[in-house]
């Protein structure tokens, strides 16, 4: 009985951890949206800044990947 509760708690926790991905989605969308609005105002400068955009995406996305990792750890490793 106790094991079932632990299992249930793990699965609920894994599901809750996945809500963190929504934050990463907001972050990545924010980075790309702002890049695009800036790029459309000054298209000449856009090409030089794509690398910066990808770095920004990577940093924003890493935190979403952390929440995915927490979910995986809860389901498989603990």
């Amino acid at each position: 009985m106790e094991g079932e509760f632990v299992e249930m708690g793990k699965l609920i926790g894994a599901g809750l951890a996945c809500t963190g991905m929504g934050g990463a989605a907001v972050g990545v969308g924010h980075v790309v949206g702002n890049f695009l609005s800036g790029a459309l105002r000054n298209p000449n400068a856009a090409a030089g800044q794509t690398a910066t955009m990808f770095i920004g995406i990577a940093f924003a996305e890493a935190l979403g990947i952390f929440s995915f990792l927490v979910a995986l750890l809860l389901m498989y490793a603990m």
Binding site: A51, F54, I55, I57, A62, I65, F68, L69, L72, Y76
Partner: protein, 249 residues
């Protein structure tokens, strides 16, 4: 997973990441030839094939394979110069091999029945730790104690600097963690999504039009993601290298 195994709805998207020995039974040792080693070997042979046999003729007007090799080379070369400056070119061979290994690992992992070795934190963790340790050592060799000015930001107000010091030190030591988990997590998640939809298609049988279209769509997205993740890993290596070469700005 413990649940769901008793019904016919039995999808195991994570089974593709299991490491198994190929030619022997029993335990895994450091010398055991596993599916992981096999796909690393295939990636290595692919890189050698692309760059040794593709370039060997050295035509002035490049053929198909030679132009692929040239495009990849110029792409990484430009990335290193843009981010880390001309001094970073000394470390270009390492960054280029890193990019090629990750790119080939990611792309080969998309083949059906293949194994994605970059989806394991053991692999990406070693790659990220090598970058982290070598960049830190390089920073101290090149700049001595001045490398620590990376953490003591002199352009900030004096009252803020201790707070920033704590934040910068933490973010510096989180680098290898996020660097490796980003790649492994992206690969794992993307390939698991494809397998989940494939499981839906398997359950639905012949009427599975929607899951098959979903697989095609996700597969197209994954083609993009695997290349971007190789690019992101390499560009972050360049950023860290730039921090080591020019601390303080």
């Amino acid at each position: 997973m413990a649940t769901g195994s008793e019904s016919s709805f039995d999808i195991r998207p994570m089974d593709q990441f299991i490491i198994s020995p190929l030619f022997s039974e029993g335990d895994l040792n450091w010398y055991t030839f596993t599916n992981q080693s096999l796909w690393m070997l295939i990636a290595l042979l692919g890189i050698i094939g692309l760059f040794v046999f593709g370039i060997r003729k050295g035509d002035v007007v490049p053929g198909r394979i030679q132009s692929i090799a040239e495009v990849v080379y110029v792409f990484v070369h430009k990335m290193v110069v843009d981010i880390a400056g001309q001094e970073g070119l000394k470390y270009f061979p390492y960054i280029f091999s890193l990019f090629l290994l990750i790119l080939f690992g990611n792309v080969l992992g998309l083949l059906p029945y293949s194994f994605t070795f970059t989806s394991h934190i053991a692999v990406t963790g070693i790659l990220a730790l090598l970058v982290f340790v070598s960049v830190t050592v390089l920073g101290f060799i090149r700049n001595g104690v001045r490398f620590l000015s990376l953490f003591w930001i002199s352009s900030a107000p004096l009252a803020l600097r201790p707070v920033l010091l704590v934040i910068e030190v933490i973010s510096y030591f989180v680098r290898p963690v996020s660097h490796s988990i980003r790649l492994a997590g992206n690969m794992m998640a993307g390939h698991a999504v494809i397998k989940v939809f494939a499981g839906f298609a398997g359950v639905m049988g012949l009427g599975a039009i929607a899951p098959i279209f979903a697989i095609v769509a996700v597969y197209g997205l994954e083609m993009l993601v695997v290349v971007i993740q190789a690019y992101v890993f390499t560009i972050l290596t360049c950023v860290y290298l730039n921090d080591a070469l020019h601390p303080g700005h």
